[in-house]
Amino acid sequence: MTPLHHIGNLVRELLLQVPLPVVRALFLAVPIVLLIWVLRLPREVTTSPESSGRAGQNLKYGAALALLIQIAIYSFM
């Protein structure tokens, strides 16, 4: 056993103490943080320069849909 093994075991023991509901919150935090970031992106980043302004041409909605599905998946499974 090298010192790295001891450090690894210590980290593993610490992570074993984290309750699974907290872990689920961590998993949910990833898409939630990304969703907030995507919704705050300026319009010129998420639309084409030739965009007519229709909602379907704004990538913000597609990205939000993908992330909302992720949130649903990690909330219920």
């Binding site: 992570l15 074993l16 699974l20 084409s48 597609g62 849909l65 993908a66 990690y74 499974m77």
Partner: protein, 244 residues
């Protein structure tokens, strides 16, 4: 669609289905948290960057970054950061073996799980490191978006690909779980999907599936030849022309 089709191949249908048979639904993490967040970040942060510096591939990107570094080094005595360098590589694909399985329907497994998918590896290793390396630095993937007509379409490919990715486990993971119910005594998880095909599909459809599966395998072989061996530019175009 092209991005997702590049990522998913014949080996995934057998391998991921087999892993789901052996370890349960947790293997779906590779398509969910292992893809979607990285694709969204890639769409809005990295794809515009690739387009602005007009790269033709990851090899060109590395050369471009080296050129920028050399240029910066000439103009400044300050050391130049290599933070922009993009490593290649793909998320480790699961392989089946006979580990003890406890929770077949759980996505988030404890640190001491009997499967190879503890939450620490999935969240920190797959979700925050490997998926970004794969979706932003893998030649076969990024090349698809660089072939788009415009920067917007490249970004749209990543975003709508991310939406589609949410459905992929239903195609490749769930059959493994169905096989678990129908054939609980298989010795090898990789036999799960073929067993389903041989029992559930009628003779004609079985042949069509086999043809489609072989086509998918050949596609993977060609992509591997084009992207891994780094042949001469001309040869690369010739070989790439045969790619379905």
């Amino acid at each position: 669609m092209s991005l997702v089709a590049t990522d998913i191949g014949g080996t995934d249908i057998i391998g991921v289905g087999g892993a789901a048979y052996t370890y349960g639904m947790a293997v779906g993490n590779f398509e969910w948290i292992g893809c979607v967040p990285a694709m969204i970040v890639g769409a809005f942060v990295f794809i515009p960057f690739f387009w602005r510096i007009d790269v033709g591939g990851i090899g060109n990107l590395r050369r471009e970054l080296q050129r920028i570094e050399q240029s910066a080094a000439r103009h400044s005595a300050e050391p130049v950061s290599r933070d922009g360098a993009l490593p290649g590589g793909a998320p480790a694909k699961p392989t089946g073996n006979n580990a003890e399985v406890v929770q077949y329907t759980e996505l988030i497994l404890p640190v001491d799980t009997a499967t190879p998918f503890p939450w620490t590896g999935i969240l920190f290793g797959l979700g925050l490191i490997l998926s970004l390396a794969y979706w932003i630095g893998n030649q076969a993937i990024v090349q698809r978006s660089l072939g788009a007509k415009s920067e917007f379409e490249a970004k749209a490919a990543y975003v709508w690909g991310a939406v589609l990715k949410n459905l992929i486990p239903l195609i490749i993971t769930v059959p493994g779980l169905i096989a678990l119910v129908k054939f609980p005594d298989l010795a090898d998880g990789d036999r799960a999907f073929p067993s389903l095909i041989s029992v559930l599909l009628p003779v004609g459809l079985r042949g069509i599936f086999l043809a489609a599966f072989l086509a998918a395998l050949m596609s993977i072989v060609v992509v591997s030849c084009v992207t891994r061996r780094e042949p001469e530019e001309k040869l690369r175009y010739v070989v790439g022309g045969f790619q379905p």
